[in-house]
Symmetry: C2
Subunit: 223 residues, 2 copies
């Protein structure tokens, strides 16, 4: 984003962000990782609340704000989540081709045991808020709005030095039942938050040899 800003037209009735900020934002994107290795040190509650506040300023279709949260704190509730993950991860391992099973088995795919903060994030599929605007032909927009909120939480957390990991190796319907989520809530994300053991600009799956990043250029067509 080096050259950004110089070409902006005259209208300056809004907030201007400096080149220095844009540089730091780019660094935030590079240092934002999916974290699975957490210290067990507690996270002060004002930081958890700041992460949640970042969710609340996300865009949402029709201003429907369909995001809902369950803070998963009890030992019993966390044990259910860990058991859910372990069942699903065993199935996922079994479903990998033989030649990839040893590598899959070696990966650390969740930080559920160590992360001090667990948040289950849902979409309320039924809320009247927003009056359906923007979601008639693409009802999935409500769920996408919740994903936008999660992405803002991720960036806000990392800016504060916290790591976040998104665990998707879960049976979402089973997890919703275990957590006694309201019937109209669909699970979007299960998030672990805490202080990371280590920090990197490359992702753990790259370092472990699971997959490589590809160049963006090959993914852009023009019409």
């Amino acid at each position: 984003m080096k050259n950004a800003g110089a070409q902006a037209p005259a209208s300056e009735n809004g907030r201007v962000f400096s080149a220095g900020f844009r540089h730091e934002l780019d660094a935030l994107f590079q240092w934002r990782r999916d974290v699975r290795r957490f210290l067990t040190d507690p996270v002060p509650d004002d930081l958890t609340r700041a992460v949640l506040a970042a969710a609340a300023s996300a865009p949402s279709v029709g201003l429907s704000e369909p995001w809902r949260f369950i803070r998963v704190e009890s030992v019993a509730a966390r044990a259910d989540v860990i058991a859910n993950f372990e069942r699903c991860n065993a199935d996922a391992l079994a479903g990998q081709p033989d030649d990839r099973q040893p590598l899959y088995a070696s990966l650390k795919l969740a930080g559920l045991r160590d992360a001090p903060v667990h948040l289950a994030v849902f979409c309320d599929e039924d809320g009247e808020q927003g009056h359906g605007l923007g979601a008639l032909t693409m009802p999935e927009m409500r769920r996408y709005s919740v994903v936008c909120a999660v992405m803002q939480m991720w960036l806000a957390a990392r800016a504060m030095g916290l790591g976040m990991g998104w665990v998707s190796i879960l049976d979402p319907a089973h997890l919703s039942r275990d957590l006694e989520a309201p019937d109209s809530w669909s699970l979007i994300a299960y998030l672990c938050i805490g202080w990371p053991e280590e920090e990197h600009t490359d992702c753990e799956l790259e370092r472990a040899g699971w997959e490589d990043r590809l160049r963006l250029a090959g993914r852009i067509l023009t019409r």
Copy 2:
């Protein structure tokens, strides 16, 4: 995010973001809007490429990087998109309760005619990249990864002074056919990007009286 950072444990092997940066990031969240009123001034291509680069540093399930893009530039392709929007918006208006139809009809819901940059963003549902990791029980994670990329684009664009609008009042299958998208690509977002006519910290739907923001506190349960 005022108090953030002071309590971080000793481990400092990663990039630290300053309190000043966190304050600016919070301002970015507040000034990031869904823009529907654009100036027609062109956007330099290096800025469009910087917005796309922000997509490429988003998280993706299993490092699958399923995001795909079509830059919609031709008059004919844009006319198809506008016609698609107008059909869907007429249907959406007709589907609103009688007492809300005048307000709905008064809303400006897309900046398709003025925005200099149009990007259609897709999820490749078939790619081998990522080897299915994290997407067995929640295959929607591929689409959610693309939404994460869109959210990063939105923030990067606004940091450069650009506005972005996400148009979802579209028939996605029809649009994909019109754009001759590959069969395995699903439309996630249609984005308008350009210089905003005006800037606000409150959203246009709030100003127009369509919907109000609600407090976050009522949406958080604990288990």
